[in-house]
Amino acid sequence: MMDGRIDTDSIAAVPTGLIPGPVQSRLEKISTAKSWGNWAGYVSPLVLDTVEFEYFAIRNQTTLFDVSPMHKYRITGPEAEAMLNRMVTRDIRKIKPGRVGYALWCDEEGMVIDDGTLFRFSETDFRLCCQESMHGWLLDAAWGFDVTIEDESHSIGGLSLQGPTSYSLLDAAGLSAVADMKPFDLREIEPGLWISRTGFTGDLGYELWTDWQQTGALWDRLWQQKQPWGLRAIGSHALDMVRIEAGFMAAKVDFQPVLTASRLGRGRSPLELGFDRLVDFTKGHFNGRRALLKQKESGPRHHLIKLEIGGFKPADGSLIYYRKKREVGHVTSAIWSPTAKRNIALAELKAPYGGEKINDLWAEVYVNEEGIWDKRLVPVTVVTDPFFRNDRARATPPRPF
């Protein structure tokens, strides 16, 4: 066309560009920011209204976020447990039916391919949710096992309801049967509606899983209870703030999934990401075991750690120095935490820094002050606990707010 516009319907046999998720029509209606991102090929809101108020809704009231674009795989069959246990680093036999567990899986060099949550519906029925496309890897890993792998990415929808009043909202929506669910519990609350007490916020929250086609109706059902519990739909920017507060790492941000990095040496092991407790050398063989066992002896090359940064300016992308001179790493995620009132970050340091050596570390923070760059060297402190912690996240039965 001469005027440069393209009719997107007639370019290819498949859709080009971003495609709508199950609740996009609803999001378009409420979006004032018109700020959209790409999540696995779907249109996903970065911000719907204001990052600030969306963030505070997560920590004060309750929020709704469509997680349907996430990759979801169903693993079923008599050897599903054995196959998954051969694939991931932790011992999943400890995840009982009706429970959810966080897991990482590696290549033969012990480098993390991805992390995700494993939902166990029954002895022989699992779902793996993760950021990266994993169909091929799962099919490979299933070789020789009596299991069926099904890609549910486009057939199962998910809504994440997070915040201190999230239980009250579920109660108002007729879903009070979740009341006795503990963190990481998973239950079919209504036929075709599974709810897990999980989330990426470190706060009270639930994830609701249903048929892709039913997701819109589920959204409406929750949305009708907007008042009095103060429900707000949010975008991923606000979510990113709370996950940093909770100390959760994000794929492609805080570590590079090894199968997606074209450059050598970008892979990281679970030990280097701080997940020693999720590597079980006693459970029998698993992918990457030998390499990880070796690294356990020789020690990790890097440390992904939590840092408290001096001053008030977020240290996004800052380089980390030892004794103000030697460059020893960099910040991978950073925000000023409006809830913890601390300047927080995740950072990757070259061993032994961040491991045995945690003193005399400094971050170089750049601040653009209306056209003038100010460079500040500020002290950093290594911390071990999550930056945000609140009893309400774990209380069972959950509190009303």
Partner: protein, 545 residues
Amino acid sequence: MGQHDRYDAIVAGAGHNGLTTACYLAKAGMKVLVVEKNDWIGGAAVSRSLHEGWTYSNCSYVCSLLRREIVRDLELPRFGLQVIPYEGGASFTRDGDYFAYHSDHDALRREIARHEPRDVDAYDRFSQTVIRQCRFIRPFLLRSAPDPTSFKVRDLQELLYLVKRAHGLGAKELAETLRFWTMSIGDFLDEHFENDLIKAHLAGSGIIGTGLGVYSPGTAYVLLHHYMGDVDGAIGAWGFARGGMGAISKALGDCFEEAGGKIVTGSGVDRFQVEGGKIIGVALENGDEYRAPIVASNMDVKRTFLEHTNARDLPEDFTRAVERFKIRGSSGKLNIALDALPEFPAAPKNASFLRGDLHCSTSLEELERAYDDWKEGQWSSNPYFDMLIPSQIDPTMAPPGKHMMTVFVQYAPYDLLADGKRSAENWTEERKKAFADCVFDKIEEACPDIRQRVVHAEIRTPKDIEREVGLTEGNIFQGELTFDQLLFNRPVPGYANYATPIDGMYLVGSSAHPGGGVMAAPGANAAREILRKLGKTTSKVATAA
């Protein structure tokens, strides 16, 4: 008297500043006692349940000034403190319109243009001026004010810092700054804006808590005082403490007790005990006595020295200066439990600005007349109010679907005129009701169904605030924030460094620099001075970044 009654330091009054001082001293390893006259802690930063199911922030009601350096030092979030910002606000007119102060900048510009196109860019210039002034003054909040007559190294250093900062402004800006610090908010707004409603909306911050009118010199600074806070670095932003303002005091109290401090409630200080010019302890109203070489008073300067200290322990000129200190009650408050959200017919159905601060004053002239009533010893017949419904955002304040409303009202005199006489005793129950009725009439201009929504209301006059919180004349700032009572003149010349004529006795409340608001800066600054005098390290006490 047993050994257990001896402390390293005693803090008189568990207001947010007293508790802040106490926290810092306890964290520095001192054995600290806080005594409080009420059965609860918090002073004017309290959450109380006076009607079942509802929580009121009875006195102070919004939060912005609380210094984040202090919140961070004392790890208050770990003790449950969460500050939630609110969105915008509005001023309603009698003819069914409103000016909405949107937190979204584009929406705000459009809204200003709806009222007066010439004021759109004016607003941005106004903001620039205010933020520039805030940037200039903010570093002084967490520093002791220098005494210009002193030749002590520290005073000279601090003075040099002040001069350097002022010099950095350049001649033109310095002139602007001095003008800003002394002019009226009315004149300042008239210089910038055309529209009366917009001016009225912005003027509120210049008079809140102050016994001055919008055209009284010095009120521009009062606006600055309200703007220099922030929520997470957003200068001028205000928020709610989740669970009410008492959440701040509770977090401070828990921090203090974790650091080994002890709080005794239920009996106030009767006497500050002095021997040979030195403080030796306090005697409580219930007869209990406690000993300590350091005593910090969180009470205002008048209450501390004119009511609880023996005049013969003080130099006469000091006492005279304290007597002269201006501390006038000018505001009242209504805390209201509502059975549902009241209707605002003028506002769109889902207006987000209803979650902010709401007003019904439409011009500077109207505000000035409200002040005239106060000068005459009357409450304003057409009052200014700062009204919020925090339960729309904070789910902890009222039962689901019900609401809590806070209405800060100006002006209301302490010594009400009745039968030809001005006296606080004139605040009878009947007159309190009449005062509340007058406020409800005004609220009806914005929400006509307000009276039907009321389940319970607490009416607070300056007299009530004085009686309950102990603030002299019910002045919320522990003394007017006028230039004659700021910096090295606060509370009185020569005593701006938190010390007093009595050796070992300190003033840590808002009567001291930098003044009122739930800022905690006086408390932190005082703690730094005390620790310094004791030769202890002060590096753990917040200083301005």
